[in-house]
Symmetry: C2
Subunit: 217 residues, 2 copies
DNA sequence: CGGTTAATTGAACGCATTCAACACGAGTGG
DNA sequence: CCACTCGTGTTGAATGCGTTCAATTAACCG
C-alpha cells in the first residue's frame, strides 16, 4: 500500500471513484438550508462529507465574534476531514445544499479501510495546500492583492467566461481577512482599472488576465 | 492498517520511535550553518528531514521579496513533508543545526513503508493544524494579539521558567505578518503591562499567564 | 575596547477600518 | 403599477493601527 504519492491529481478534495461509490452506498443524503449549520466548531469529527449540490463554507469564530472563513467547497469536494479528533472550523451551507454523509466507522466496518485512508490523506493534502496559500495571502498581501488572488482562483477553476461568486461580500471579507467595505472598494477599483468586469454583483469575467495575474502576486 | 487516528500524540511533528530508528540507520547526518539553505522553495520533495540539534525555519518568498515564515522546527521534529511533489516553502538553518536526512525511496526500499506512511500522515496532520492556527492569527488578530499568541505558544512547550527565543525579530515579524518595529513595540508594550519580562532580548518569562492567555485570543 | 549587527524608539505617513449615508434589487402588499 | 421594506452592496469622510523612514541604543564578538 503506497499512500502518499498520487500528486498528479489536480483536485485533492475530490474523492476517488471507489470512495464515492462506497459513500453513496453507505452514506445518507442530507439537505441544508442557506446558513444552516452542518457541524459545529469543536464537534467530534466522525463523519466524512461530500458536497452533492450547492456550496459549503467552513468558519472559525473567535471568542469575541471575529470570524475567519476557512474555505468554500463545491460539488464533488470532500470536507470535514480534520487533523485532530474535533472540528476546528464549523461548516454551514453557503447556499441551500445537499451533502452526502457517512460515518468513518461505517466505512471501516465495510472494508473501505484502504479507500478511506487514501481519501483522508488526499483530502488532508488538499487542505494543507489550501491553508498554505491562504496563509501567504493573509500574511503578506495587500487588500488589492488579496481580492485579485481570490477572483483569480475563482476564475481559474471555472474556465467559463462568466464566473460566479456564490458567496456574499461578508464571506469574501472574512475569507480574506478584510472588511466588506474594503472588499467592495477593491472590486470597484479592479473594475475601474478594466481588469475585471462585473455583470452583476455576483457575476464577473476577467478582462485582463495578465494584469490580474500580476496583482495576485 | 489503521492510519488516521492516533490523535493522542501531543506532537504530530515528532516521528515514532520506529521511524527514528530506521532513519538513523538509513539516513545521513548533515550540518547546516545559520541561514544556510537546507532545501529551496520549488525543489522536489523527495527527502524526509528530522532536526537533531538547532532550529530550522521554513520560508516562502514572494516575487517581490516579501517573506513569510511558515514554521520553526525544534530538535526531534520532522520537516520537509509536503502536500505536493515540490516544496512550497524553503528550509534554512535558523541556528547552526544538525539534521538527519533520508530519501523516501530508501525508506520504501527497506520495508519501512508502513512507518513512512504513518509518519507522513502524522506530520501532515501536524502541519495542517499548525497552518490553521497560523491562518487564524494572520487573518483576524491584532498585532498585539499576534505577538502574545506567539510568546504563549513558545512558553507553553518550554515549560521552564525561562523561555528562549531562538529567532530574531525579523523572523518573528515574517512569521506574524508584521514588521520588526511593530513586533518590538508590542514586546515592550507587553513588558510595560507586566505580562512578560525580558531578561535579554532573546529570553523572557511569563509574569501574568491569565493576561497573556486573554490577549492571545 | 571599538566595530558591527540587532533591537528599540520616535515621528510622519498611508492603508485599511470605522461609522454613516446612500443606492440597488427582490419581495410584498396596497 | 407604485410604494414600502428589508437585505445587500457601494460610496464618503474621519479615525487609527501598523508601516515607513530615520535616529538612537543595546547586545555581541573580535
Amino acid at each position: 500500500m503506497t499512500l502518499a504519492f498520487s500528486f498528479d491529481d489536480a483536485d485533492d478534495a475530490a474523492p476517488t471513484k471507489a470512495l464515492t461509490d462506497i459513500m453513496d452506498r453507505l452514506g445518507v443524503r442530507m439537505s441544508f438550508a442557506k446558513d444552516e449549520e452542518i457541524y459545529a466548531q469543536e464537534d467530534e469529527a466522525e463523519m466524512i462529507y461530500r458536497v452533492v449540490s450547492g456550496v459549503v463554507r467552513t468558519t472559525c469564530l473567535l471568542s469575541d465574534g471575529r470570524r475567519q472563513v476557512g474555505a468554500f467547497y463545491s460539488p464533488g469536494q470532500l470536507f470535514g476531514v480534520e487533523p485532530g479528533p474535533e472540528h476546528r472550523f464549523g461548516a454551514e451551507g453557503l447556499t441551500d445544499c445537499v451533502v452526502q454523509v457517512v460515518k468513518r466507522s461505517a466505512l471501516r466496518a465495510h472494508g473501505a479501510e484502504h479507500e478511506l485512508d487514501e481519501a483522508i490523506l488526499a483530502a488532508t493534502f488538499g487542505e494543507l495546500r489550501r491553508a498554505q496559500d491562504h496563509l501567504l495571502l493573509l500574511g503578506r498581501k495587500s487588500a488589492c492583492e488579496r481580492v485579485a488572488s481570490f477572483l483569480m482562483a475563482r476564475a481559474e477553476d471555472h474556465e467559463s467566461e462568466d464566473v460566479d461568486l456564490p458567496m456574499g461580500r461578508q464571506d469574501m471579507a472574512d475569507y480574506l481577512g478584510l472588511t466588506i467595505e474594503t472588499v467592495s472598494r477593491m472590486l470597484t477599483q479592479l473594475q475601474s482599472a478594466k481588469i475585471v468586469r462585473f455583470t452583476s454583483c455576483r457575476h464577473f469575467h476577467v478582462a485582463d488576465w495578465r494584469a490580474l495575474e500580476r496583482l495576485a502576486a
